[in-house]
Assembly symmetry: C2
Homo-oligomer: 196 residues x 2
DNA sequence: CGTGCACCTAAGCACTCGCTCAGTTATAAG
DNA sequence: CTTATAACTGAGCGAGTGCTTAGGTGCACG
């Protein structure tokens, strides 16, 4: 099993940042270790003191990304607020994160198939938590009569799907601000949950 | 010599079908020509009489996919119907297609970066037409007062994004029928366009 | 100063990549 | 039969892959 170092060296973070940019642009399989290193003016062998393999580099990116998005959502959620306010805040945080960290999000959404089965399972568990946070709020709102949707599971799927897909198209000429995208998506989520 | 070939050879279609499956599972860069051939019991060299390169094979898949989805949408659209009915039919067709052709859709949505710039431009033009069909219906519905949304561009983006993302998660345990997914997405589209 | 150490590079290994090519096989027409 | 044509194979080329290794370099600390 892998032991996670408490403090990561600055070099490791630079390598990971360069890998995120390359993986987002060309995909994991389409990026060579030499390409990542070239972007940093280093030799390809320079990453191996910091990451045991290319796959572990991807896994490290996946862990950071999923932890980051879950933290962003948890931080935006105020359990004492109304369900409408909670859904608004959480969806805005989720969609906003996908826009703000577009490259990281792309890697996290589209490159996970390159992980080992063991690593993939760990990541899949983290991802399930994200959807569950939205599902909890929607279910609570429906139960309280604050939301009208008679298909809460479908709405949760649609909202999650919408937010995740932001990283695919962001930015466009008319949508360049992550916070604005977040608000727009919160609006869409409310419409889906308030209508029948 | 007197017979003009109107259809592609059966071998070419078999190769393309195997490539779609492989590209969908492992990505374009993550799939070798030898893997594609192995799935057909052929040698890797067997594809070159039919496709000039691996990239042309991808381009052929992209052309077929985009033509197919545009045809499916156009066939579902009845210009004499109400805007509500048109949006319902078109969104159901779009989302349904993504589910029904999940592997092809995945390739078409996520592997286009591997195309040459020239091929990519051709494909991008086809894709724009898809969004425009939805945009036309939404704009018409708003103008006619049939839809209430005061942010039609945002709604069109959200609806397109929703439909495209179907190929990423489909199928799930609870959503296995493409037609049902289409209906569910049509419902979501209507909610987004009817509320303010 | 010298020692240890973290970090790095150049070289290279074993392997796979997309693709080519000479030659074989199957089919159909003359 | 011969001939033409297309599809296909096995071998293999040059380039690139992830990764290893031996050795060098600069820096903190005694």
């Amino acid at each position: 099993m892998t032991t996670v170092r408490v403090t990561e060296s600055a070099a490791a973070q630079r390598i990971r940042q360069a890998a995120i940019a390359s993986f987002a642009e060309s995909g994991y399989a389409g990026t060579s270790t030499r390409q990542i290193a070239a972007g940093l003016g280093m030799s390809a062998a320079a990453m191996y003191p910091h990451f045991r393999s290319k796959e572990e580099l991807l896994y490290s990116i996946a862990l950071e990304g999923h932890r980051s998005v879950n933290e962003a959502i948890a931080a935006a959620d105020d359990a004492s607020a109304s369900h409408t306010e909670r859904l608004t805040a959480v969806v805005a945080a989720f969609a906003g994160w996908q826009a703000r960290h577009q490259q990281l999000a792309k890697v996290v959404q589209y490159e996970m198939r390159a992980l080992t089965p063991s690593h993939f399972r760990t990541i899949a568990a983290l991802r399930r938590k994200t959807t569950e946070m939205i599902a909890t709020i929607v279910a609570g709102g429906v139960e309280a009569g604050e939301f009208a949707a008679d298909d809460p599971d479908d709405v949760v799927l649609a909202i999650s799907s919408l937010c995740v897909d932001v990283c695919r198209w962001f930015p466009t000429r008319t949508h360049r601000d992550p916070a604005t995208v977040g608000q727009m998506y919160a609006r869409m989520a409310l419409r889906m949950v308030l209508a029948t």
